[in-house]
Amino acid sequence: MIERTLGIPSDEKETKVASQNPLKRIALEPVTRIEGHAKVTLLVDDEGHVRQARMHVVEFRGFERFVQGRPYWEMPVLVQRLCGICPVSHHLAAAKAVDRIVGGENLSSTAEKMRRLMHYGQTFQSHALHFFHLVSPDLLFGFDADPAIRNVIGVAKKYPDLAVQGVMMRKYGQEIIKATAGKKIHGTGAIPGGINKNLSIEERDVFLRDIDQMLDWAQSALKIAKDYTTEHLKQLASFGSFPSNHLSLVRKDGALDLYHGNLCAVDAEGNKIFDQVDYSSYLDYFAEEVRPWSYMKFPFIKSLGPEKGWYRVGPLARLNTCKFIDTPIAEKERKEFMKLGKGKPVNVTMAYHWARMVELVHAAEKIKELLHDPDLQGENLVVKGKRRSEGIGLVEAPRGTLFHHYRVNDDDQVVMANLIVSTTHNNEPMNRAVQKVAEEYLDGKEITEGLLNHLEVAIRAYDPCLSCATHALGQMPLLVELYDLEGNLLDRKARGE
């Protein structure tokens, strides 16, 4: 935590802030126990009232431009390097887009099921990672516990059994990814029109041996999240919460489907904004607003406009949009979860954790179902058809709907790439959550570390993955500084000087 009073500016940047705002600036940076780089700034007046609260995404990549000229078949292995937490999501969304370019979107059943297994393996590991490694410290120790113990290591010391379960569940998911993609992080399994291997009987049997244990542990994790939410509902119901629209892919029959489906959006009351929209026409439905203070854009549904059209994605949104879940335990749990909304969508931000654990159980059930499917040992791995010059691929990544869109020329080079990643969709909601928590907990009070962690708790509910979200590049006054090994400035050049 850095606290600066703007009366004594120490560099150019601060002078600039000071001249705009005669308010005290409080910065929380970096935001920790999230994946990626962000900071939160608050502007507070003399009486300690919060005038403005923002979450800034401070990284940039420039991906849309620098993949231009690369061959399209590189996309599934290249773009996943945007994010090492959910590389499989990018790998698969890019592969689905590229399938369309080679005319191979009607995958063989072996290829589709191998990819699904990979995807549910990743959902399992990602949800376990987020819950045990990143969030459980807040739930087990309290939002304003001592930061020295408020971390996964503190959890491992105090609740060793729980920590072991978290570690083993993540491992199981990672091993599934390795068996389907070739490598735990940044694999190569999905190729244009299919997959490059099937699952051997030996590989399958190893996973079958442990799956019931995983399903058990997933259910006990779900119980922790559920009990925590219901016990603390009075405090949590309003914590960073607000009515919002919700978006996800759903299967043709309305079921939850993380790998493939059509777009469905509902409003805060549960009315359909649109349903069963073929995602190839996403350009007619979505736009992204640019704001000067964050590298992350702000997506919205075009027909509603930027003011009203923002929405949430991810586990909470998925349970709010789907009609049912096609695995028995998760479906029972979904019904119980939806009672929270009393017949309407659940808009409680902290309920994301509970929803995420319902999906953890669903992922384990899906993995079990797939492992018993003999199609995984099939030999037909790749299909190809009529080549196209454009491909759009969407999946439900652990954190929400992920869009990949490529155009290619006759030489197989990418000429246009557009990505809307899960975390970007949640940009407006995360900012609203920060604003709400700041007003509710920090207003007019002496601001302590514990109170500041409340802001992070609200952000963490969304499980933001800012590595993915920052593939975009923004304009900054460009600056190059050259330092010697002691850190002395040797040379400094700014763009345009």
Binding site: E29, G84, P87, L134, V167, W293, G487
Partner: protein, 181 residues
């Protein structure tokens, strides 16, 4: 005796190297008996609290913030290890190095097919750190003691290296653990 301390940073990387460190799985429970973690994105320690024996660096430097963090790590750590291609040579983010920055900006904030930007503004708030002209590998900014290749380096590589260095042993990694991808 106090346990040695380890700090980790993710600069212009994808967190994959940090994930690979978590892929040591149950050995993480041994690791926390061996060392204490200081500043790291996996805990809530945002500023160094002590001198560290080892600092692990993921990612190169793409903005001034990355440079500051890296220099801070050099000041506080006895040994600095660059893990993964991004830290060692810039990696995927460095693919922008040959392209005028203005083109990347226009693509992301003005030209993209979903962009809604009537005033054609590009993010430029003083809260955002300055972007460097290109992505610099860690060793071009500070002295780096060891480099562990791979994208990411396998969990076993990270484990073997950490254990050897924390025990003051020389780093001899078997051929299978050295991966370039």
């Amino acid at each position: 005796m106090d346990k040695p301390k380890v700090a980790t940073a993710s600069l212009a990387g994808c967190f994959g190297c940090h994930m690979s460190l978590l892929d040591i799985d149950d050995r993480i429970l041994k690791l926390i008996q061996l060392v204490d973690f200081d500043k790291s994105p996996v805990d809530d320690i945002k500023k160094f609290t002590d001198r560290c024996a080892v600092g692990l660096i993921e990612g190169g430097c793409a903005n001034e913030e990355n440079v500051k963090v890296l220099q801070d790590f050099r000041r506080h750590c006895d040994l600095l290890i660059a893990i993964g291609e991004c830290a060692i040579m810039g990696g995927l983010p460095a693919m922008r190095n040959g392209i005028p920055v203005q083109e990347c900006l226009a693509e992301a904030y003005q030209k993209g097919p979903t962009v809604h930007n009537p005033s054609q503004q590009i993010p430029n708030d003083p809260e955002l750190p300055l972007i460097l002209d290109r992505v610099y590998p860690a060793h071009e900014v500070v002295k780096i003691d060891y480099q562990l290749p791979g994208c990411p380096p396998p969990a076993d590589t990270l484990w073997e290296a950490l254990v050897a260095l924390l025990n003051g042993k020389p780093l001899h990694l078997p051929y299978e653990l050295i991966k370039y991808d």
